[in-house]
């Protein structure tokens, strides 16, 4: 469309303005994290920091222990991601390729729970985790999220698209059922596993309600919990500190996302679910 490339300069202009507006909060966050709080409270605001400082970051890690929260967030996200990759691909494969009693019912029940709001389960989950003595522990933060229905759906859909002949060929060669899954099909699931892995990692990193309930001391806080609680406590007007905290929470996922953005966007476009 020659007409559209030359004649639509105004659309490029409009979209550029829109992108600037959409990214402005992030730019403001990063720039602001290098300003002092008195400078942040000035009206009209300064654009670039007058005396760029790392004070906010040193305070976060020296005084407020953000290193621990960062570690907790990372461990929880890594374990939850690993669990979902393993368990969801196993069940997804069984549902896509194998025949067994109760298959339809199992798939139906798992899919039905996709609709259930997280708020429905958290009260009894808390009682369960409390009775198991896991409140305020990292396993308590991870366990309820190790196997999520969304991953089963995604893996099943992907494996349905793989050639069934591979299964028959493996059987003819005398390979056991589990071996066929682990050695033939799993290596072919790379793209789906990558999508599921990234989406699960992002979801776990940003998860809030459950960690807020279970993490009760600073030893088990994850980053969002720590940031939310500090933003309401005695640091609530220490804007420099809070913007630096938000930057620490946002930057890792932003980098993961930018590195794998094509996978993430394709994953959302094909499954339709974030």
């Amino acid at each position: 469309m020659n007409r559209s490339t030359s004649g639509k300069w105004w659309l490029y202009g409009l979209l550029s303005i829109a992108v600037v507006i959409v990214s402005a909060p992030f730019l403001w966050m990063v720039v602001g994290s290098f300003k002092t709080t008195p400078e942040l409270r000035r009206n009209p605001p300064t654009w670039l920091p007058e005396h760029a400082t790392l004070d906010n970051y040193t305070q976060l890690f020296a005084r407020l222990d953000f290193g621990t929260y960062f570690f907790n967030s990372t461990v929880v996200a890594v374990v939850v991601t690993a669990g979902n990759l393993l368990f969801c691909s196993m069940l997804g494969y069984a549902l896509a390729m194998l025949d067994f009693r109760g298959k339809k019912a199992l798939f139906g029940v798992v899919m039905a729970t996709l609709l259930i709001p997280g708020v429905v389960t958290f009260v009894p989950l808390f009682v369960l985790v409390a009775n198991a003595g896991l409140v305020d522990t990292l396993p308590g933060l991870m366990l309820p999220f190790l196997a999520a229905p969304f991953g089963v759906f995604l893996m099943r859909q992907f494996i349905l698209g793989l050639p069934r002949d591979l299964l028959d060929a493996g059987r003819v060669d005398g390979a056991g059922e589990l071996r066929i899954f682990a050695r033939i099909f799993l290596p072919l699931c790379g793209p789906a596993l990558a999508t599921l892995g990234i989406l699960t990692f992002l979801g776990s990193w940003n998860n809030f309600l459950w960690p807020l309930v279970v993490a009760q001391t600073e030893d088990t806080y994850t980053l969002p919990v720590a940031l939310a609680l500090y933003s309401k406590g005695q640091n609530s007007t220490n804007y420099g500190l809070l913007l630096a905290g938000a930057t620490v929470v946002v930057m890792p996922v932003l980098l993961v996302f930018l590195a794998f953005q094509r996978r993430v966007i394709e994953g959302i476009a094909t499954t339709g679910i974030k």
Binding site: V22, P25, W28, N43, C88, M90, L160, G245, T270
Partner: protein
């Protein structure tokens, strides 16, 4: 999507004539399948199915935090928690707030998503992926973190938003401190953060709209708006249904935004159903909190069903 997959299933089954596989092979297959399903099923039973049922049971009891160690001391009180909710003025306020958030927020998010998708799909040919990336980025970030940042942006005196409004002579409101402006502020932030998801799904849906139809209509003198209204929009209906349902399900449960930015205030103007449920849990009223969570669940289910109906019937 599942109907499509089921179709594939049956097609495959028809290829292989029944009874050809030996029973031993079948049994091995079934055992292997259950072995593969077992870890997921165990976790799923303990951490999803059981809590969903337990929550329903709890909602008809007077369970409180102190009953945690003595589960047999709770009494079944029937539907008392539910009737209590329907006459709890604070909960009803939370219901109204949530309705406000959904009724204004969902259409706004959808319009932003659709506008961005249409502009990127047909309007431009270069830098498409750069724009797409820019619009999608807020979706992947933590709501808590962006809420902290927006709280600062929305500050009455030194926030960026009121500064920019000041350039054009508008005296910006005290966004988060004024009960009339607090909810619009939260809606603005939620739409900003979430429209990227809808945009991506719309972009996928727009692939199915035949460009030839647009060209033919253009030759017949149809304006861009007419073509959008009578060609693109009707063909996009399934996608529209999907995006509006998923957005609405998400918005019905909004929690982090008021938790961080307003704590439900001012004057309870931003307490959401989820936030109110969380507070009741915090007070130790587990039975009552469970009944509130089931009310949210029922509302989600009803709204989803209604929306499927409304958008289907127009076809």
């Amino acid at each position: 999507m599942s109907t499509l997959a089921d179709g594939v299933d049956t097609a495959r089954r028809e290829e292989a004539p029944p009874g050809r596989r030996r029973p031993r092979r079948r049994r091995q297959e079934g055992n292997a399948a259950w072995l593969l399903a077992l870890p997921f099923c165990l976790l799923f039973l303990v951490f999803t199915v059981w809590p969903v049922l337990q929550s329903l049971f709890m909602s008809i009891t007077d369970t409180r935090a102190k009953d945690l160690r003595t589960p047999f001391s709770v009494d079944i009180i029937g539907l008392d928690n539910y009737t209590r909710a329907l006459s709890d003025e604070n909960f009803l306020q939370a219901v109204r707030n949530t309705a406000y958030f959904v009724v204004v927020g969902v259409p706004l998010t959808l319009v932003m998503a659709l506008a961005a998708a249409v502009a990127l799909d047909r309007g431009i040919s270069r830098f498409r992926s750069v724009f797409r990336l820019g619009f999608y980025t807020p979706v992947v970030t933590s709501i808590v973190a962006v809420a902290v940042v927006w709280q600062f942006l929305l500050n009455r005196q030194f926030g960026l938003i009121n500064t920019v409004l000041g350039w054009v002579g508008i005296n910006g409101p005290n966004w988060l401190g004024d009960p009339d402006w607090s909810m619009p502020a939260l809606i603005m932030m939620a739409s900003w953060r979430n429209f990227g998801t809808g945009m991506i799904i719309f972009l996928a849906g727009l692939q199915a709209v035949p460009w030839a139809l647009h060209e033919a209509a253009a030759i017949d003198g149809a304006s861009a708006w007419q073509r959008f209204r009578h060609i693109t929009l009707p063909m996009l209906r399934p996608t529209l249904l999907f995006v509006s349902v998923t957005t609405m399900i998400g918005y019905l449960q909004f929690f982090e935004e008021p938790f961080v930015m307003t704590n439900g205030g001012p004057l309870n103007s931003t307490v959401s159903m989820s936030l109110y449920t969380y507070r009741q849990f915090g007070f130790g009223n587990y039975g009552y909190a469970a009944s509130l969570s089931y009310i949210i669940f029922v509302v989600v289910a009803i709204v989803t069903a209604l929306q499927f109906r409304a958008l289907r019937e127009k076809e």
